[in-house]
């Protein structure tokens, strides 16, 4: 498998995405919502409210759970992109000529994965910066500069988020090659968010604490899932079925 070939596929997809509204909206809406909404919620709930959440001992845990939501958000974003980019090819029937070229299945799939991962990462990192600045803005009085620096969120953004995005993309690619419309691809794709939601709820209910070592363990587990999903995707990408059953 040649990375340069996968990149050619990804670069073409970027060009296509520029003209597809659905892809744009999935890249923009969720990151904007998450990065703006959370600081606002926190402002009303924890800082202005009288729930005692503003106490310096409680707030960091709450914030860590909050920031985990960035990961869930990140995993949600590429569902729309990846399912469009695979189902879109089916609808246009543009895979047949592509499969007749010297590209391998792995190169095509990797290209599809890259084209969904990169815009998501860019959008989510931008969202994360807004999020951190916003949270720091509302919690500065109690916590000082909580996020600058903060190893916890660094691990979350730089290690956990990329592997979670890749997991979601690969899962979505696999689902998309089995269904024939973007909507059902999306609704099945949502399932990949459940384990992440489980982790989020466990941290909210203090079953686990999302410290650096826990985050690294979770990342390692997801990375293993990523590798497994990539192999699964090349196995489920059967040329013959794609051509004859993708109607």
């Amino acid at each position: 498998m040649r990375l340069s070939k996968a990149w050619i596929v990804a670069a073409r997809d970027f060009k296509i995405f520029r003209r597809v509204k659905n892809v744009w909206s999935s890249i923009i809406i969720f990151p904007v919502v998450i990065s703006v909404l959370f600081p606002v919620i926190l402002e009303y709930l924890a800082v202005r409210g009288s729930h005692g959440l503003a106490a310096p001992g409680v707030l960091p845990n709450l914030l860590n759970s909050f920031s985990f939501f960035l990961v869930i958000g990140a995993a949600n974003v590429p569902l729309g992109i990846a399912s469009y980019s695979v189902v879109g090819e089916k609808v246009e029937k543009s895979l047949e000529p592509l499969l007749a070229t010297p590209l391998t299945d792995g190169e095509i799939l990797l290209g599809k994965a890259i084209s969904a991962v990169i815009p998501t990462l860019v959008a989510m990192y931008a969202a994360a910066v807004v999020f951190m600045v916003g949270i720091d803005g509302v919690t500065f009085n109690t916590l000082g500069y909580y996020y600058f620096p903060n190893w916890n969120i660094a691990t979350l953004l730089l290690v956990l988020m990329p592997v979670a995005i890749v997991m979601s993309v690969l899962f979505s690619v696999i689902v998309s090659s089995r269904v024939n419309d973007v909507r059902s691809a999306n609704s099945f794709g949502i399932f990949i968010l459940f384990p992440l939601l489980g982790i989020y709820l466990s941290s909210e209910t203090s079953i686990i604490t999302l410290d650096v070592s826990t985050l690294l363990i979770i990342s390692g587990a997801i990375l293993a899932v990523d590798v497994a999903l990539f192999f699964l995707s090349t196995k489920t990408f059967r040329r013959e079925e794609i051509l004859t059953k993708w109607k």
């Binding site: 050619i8 073409r12 296509i16 246009e92 029937k93 047949e96 070229t101 010297p102 013959e240």
Partner: protein, 305 residues
């Protein structure tokens, strides 16, 4: 250039291609003719390494279909114009081509050159920055052809490139195929259009799951003996004329209004007694024609078998 031997493809219990044996020479325009469901697309897909064969062998330029080691070489040798053009509708014509040029490792200058050359040859250069999705069917077809040629393949597979095109667009595509023939490209052309096969193909195979006939269009025409005499009268064929004709030993006599048709082997000898008979029975002959069998006759006859 292309050789198949007993090539067979089964989809479960349905045999789509049955023991196909044929060869296509270097630089030949080969017409693969058959009705819908004849197995034309399936054959092209096997030859382009898109789907597996069930049994038999096939080679392209000496490389073996189904052999992993030859896979890449075959793909570099061939270009495919699929039955559904399969363009990226949200890309411009130029970007559609350029993408394929990149896949085939063409250098930047080579790509620019080829993109321009093929877009110009097919009359799409002015539309190069227009989205392919907005193109007419004919323009899409031309762009798909340009895309298949971008890496200068030796063999071009085309799956019904003129189906669904208006006559003018069809003609452009056919003229272009003839131009490619001058460049010594080998062309495997699926079609269900007899006229097209006859006009542009060096050799034609008639296919309906299994191979029914193969040869030059002229060979195939004469393979069905059966010239006909067509006599036109000035008025409707009436009872006396019909009665008189029925007494003659004519094969496949048929009457249609003012037209009489029958099979003829030696028109010079057989026609004049017939005309005399008609005149004696009071008919007025307006015209006499002898028509040869056409590729269409051969085709229909072979398919009925």
């Amino acid at each position: 250039m292309i050789e198949t031997e007993n090539l067979t493809k089964k989809f479960w219990d349905l045999t789509a291609v049955d023991n196909l044996t044929l060869h296509v020479d270097d630089g030949e325009v080969f017409g693969f003719l058959g009705p819908n469901g004849a197995g034309k697309t399936t054959t092209i897909r096997i030859l382009c390494c898109l789907i597996s064969k069930t049994s038999g062998t096939a080679t392209i330029g000496g490389y073996e279909i189904g052999n992993k080691a030859d896979w890449l070489k075959i793909r570099k040798t061939i270009g495919l114009v699929p039955d559904n053009v399969g363009l990226s509708e949200n890309l411009t014509a130029y970007d559609n081509l350029d993408f394929y040029g990149k896949i085939y490792d063409l250098s930047d200058t080579q790509r620019k050159e080829n993109n321009k050359r093929f877009l110009e040859m097919l009359g799409l250069w002015d539309k190069r920055n227009v989205l392919a999705g907005t193109f007419s069917k004919g323009m899409k077809q031309k762009l798909a052809i340009a895309r298949a040629l971008i890496h200068d393949p030796q063999v071009l597979f085309m799956d019904e490139p003129t189906a669904n095109l208006d006559p003018e667009a069809s003609k452009t595509v056919r003229d272009f195929i003839l131009q490619l023939k001058k460049e010594k490209k080998t062309i495997f052309l699926n079609t269900h259009n007899l006229d097209e096969a006859q006009r542009i193909c060096d050799r034609v195979a008639i296919m309906n799951t299994s191979l029914r006939a193969i040869g030059t269009p002229q060979d195939l025409e004469s393979s069905v003996s059966g010239r006909k005499t067509v006599i036109g009268l000035e008025q409707q064929v009436n009872e006396p004329v019909l009665g008189a004709l029925k007494k003659l030993p004519l094969k496949n006599l048929s009457i249609n209004g003012d037209t009489i048709t029958f099979d003829v082997e030696d028109p010079d000898k057989e026609n004049s007694p017939v005309v005399e008979t008609i005149v004696l029975a009071g008919g007025h002959v307006r015209s006499i024609n002898v028509v040869g069998s056409t590729l269409e006759d051969t085709y229909l006859k072979l398919l009925r078998k």
